[in-house]
């Protein structure tokens, strides 16, 4: 009997109600599949979120390599008596940039895009109210300015932007070596890195930026809003700072003041090139996140498509073009590596859309004009110790304008702003003028004020003696000096 029941029951059940059983099976299978899909979606979302966070996290140490490069570059370009003070200045610029960008620079980026109205833009991610809700170190906004289990984006975005800020300060830092006061320099660095370039970024490197929505300005790799702003800020400072003692003769002719270590300078420049891969990588918006432009493809900060392959093609060709162009007439490794930088900067605005051979040609032309532009500046009494005004300022604007010539007609922005101008020559000119002014005016005005208060230039006696003696209780190369240590055996 028992066996009978056991044998009959499945059969009977299936026989009596086949549809009910089938429906239940299908329902169970659908429920199971739904759960599996949800689990897969959750897993995929977690993976994407971790990828996005890691992507930007890794740009930060890469960009710190830029600073290692600037450190070596500046110290190598300094004479022996100033080598450590140049390094100290560079380190302090970095150190002060991070907290000041935290205190107010990040707020400016989100608060300023629509101009001085501080109103919300079409994309809804700008204006004073928005900035105050996400970018202050107190009140409710502080939840996005510190550890937050539900926010894996704010910190890495802040980090990447803070490193952009520090880069601007380092650009200016090289130009003013061997005669600037430390604190005066730090104040200038903060004005540049946590204010001037941030305003430029808000206006020209943000989906709600008025230069973008009104004029179609496109500056993917920040040729204008980082390099030109920093370069012309440095020019404004140099006018008030004056040349190093001995740079110019009474008849106005210039003397070359060589740094103490050309190999260190050249390696430093190569490190800057390495770091720029991180810098440009950080200009890419990864897909698939709530804040992404697209679910399935990367974009620029303007929401226009880009791939890392585009960057690889064009950065490499630009570096090569810049080196070759600079070598043609200078044969000098300093200018060749500066040419590499100029190659990247001259194409940075359109690295997302240039054809690689065109990027090479533009970079080659930048490498050629580099040294003549620097000489032109020097003939006007400007002592730019490392050519920063030319490499970053002049070539930065050259890059912005070049995109206006070659990239006209490409959509400048894709997104909530609706109809916006395409990339156009006049728009890029407007952008170039604004970037120039955002750099030069604050640099000139603040350095002028510092000069009035005696905080800009080191005293003459100290400059002649060497700034390491004044500022640093250590020697860069102790065995080379008169106070060289001797071993006990001697």
């Amino acid at each position: 009997m028992f066996h009978f029941v056991q044998r009959r029951r499945p059969h009977t059940t299936a026989y009596i109600c086949p549809l009910a059983t089938g429906e239940r099976n299908v329902e169970e299978q659908i429920a199971e599949l739904t759960a599996q899909i949800a689990a897969l979606q959750g897993s995929s979302a977690t993976t994407n979120r971790m990828f996005a966070e890691t992507f930007y996290y890794l740009t930060i140490p890469l960009m710190i390599i830029i600073h290692a490069g600037f450190l070596a570059y500046e110290m190598g370009s300094s004479r022996l008596k100033n080598v450590l003070s140049s390094g100290v200045k560079n380190l302090l610029a970095f150190a002060f940039m991070i907290p000041t960008f935290y205190f107010f620079g990040w707020w400016i980026y989100w608060g300023f895009p629509t101009g001085l109205t501080f109103s919300e833009g079409p994309a809804g991610i700008s204006g004073a109210a928005y900035a105050s809700s996400i970018a202050l170190g107190w009140g409710d906004a502080a939840q996005y300015m510190g550890p937050n289990i539900a926010d894996q984006a704010s910190g890495v975005f802040f980090g990447a932007f803070a490193l952009f800020a520090a880069t601007t300060a380092s650009i200016m830092s090289g130009a003013v070596i061997e005669r600037i006061q430390t604190v005066g320099f730090i104040i200038l660095a903060v004005v540049l890195g946590s204010f001037a370039w941030v305003v430029a970024a808000a206006w020209g490197w943000h989906a709600d930026g008025w230069l973008v929505t009104k004029f179609g300005v496109h500056d993917f790799g920040a040729a204008g809003l980082v390099h030109a702003v920093a370069g012309f800020f440095a020019l404004g400072v140099l006018i008030n700072l004056g040349p190093r003692i001995g740079k110019f003769n009474a008849d106005g002719s210039a003397n070359h003041i060589p740094g103490h270590n050309m190999p260190l300078t050249v390696v430093g420049l190569m490190l800057i090139i390495v770091g720029f891969w991180g810098f440009l990588m950080a200009c890419v918006i990864v897909p698939g996140e709530a804040w992404s432009w697209f679910g399935d493809k990367a974009s620029t900060i303007y929401g226009t498509p880009i791939t890392l392959s585009s960057l690889s093609f064009n950065i490499l060709m630009a570096v090569a073009g810049g080196i070759i162009g600079a070598w043609l007439f200078t044969r000098d490794p300093f200018w060749m590596m500066s040419g590499a930088l100029a190659g990247i900067i001259s194409t940075a605005s359109g690295l997302d859309i240039y054809f690689p051979a065109l990027a090479f040609i533009i970079a080659f032309s930048a490498g050629i004009i580099l040294k003549p532009c620097a000489d032109w500046l020097e003939r006007r009494g400007i002592d730019d110790a490392v050519g920063a005004v030319t490499v970053h300022g002049t070539i930065g604007l050259y890059g912005v304008v070049m995109l206006g010539i070659w990239g006209s007609g490409f959509p400048a922005l894709q997104g909530a702003a609706g109809d916006v101008p395409t990339i156009n020559f006049m728009g890029q000119i407007v952008g170039a003028v604004v970037f120039f002014l955002l750099g030069f005016v604050p640099g000139y005005v603040v350095s002028y004020i510092l000069k009035m208060f005696g905080m800009l230039r080191i005293r003459k006696g100290a400059e002649l003696a060497g700034m390491d003696l004044v500022k640093v209780p250590a020697a860069g190369y102790p065995e080379w000096g008169a106070d060289a240590p001797v071993t006990p055996a001697e």
Binding site: F96, P99, T100, F103, G137, W138, G139, A142, Q143, M145, G146, P147, N148, I149, A150, D151, Q181, T182, V183, I186, I187, M455, I458, R459, K460, G461, A462, L464, A465, L469, V470, K471
Partner: protein, 56 residues
């Protein structure tokens, strides 16, 4: 200092730093800013004094 009522990570769904929801973040931010300014003031004074020794 744990910013949630129950001392368990299972209740944390947002900010998880010390002082969240209170005055600590604002005070710390203010003090950090003051430190930066004070260091600049001290640095300026000491560097100026040192540089004057090289005047002839």
């Amino acid at each position: 200092m744990f910013p949630y009522g129950e001392a368990s990570w299972s209740v944390v769904d947002g900010a998880m730093f010390m002082g969240w929801g209170g005055a600590l973040p604002g005070m710390a931010t203010f003090i950090a800013a003051v430190i930066c300014v004070a260091v600049l003031v001290i640095g300026q004074r000491s560097e100026t004094e040192k540089a004057k020794k090289f005047d002839k």
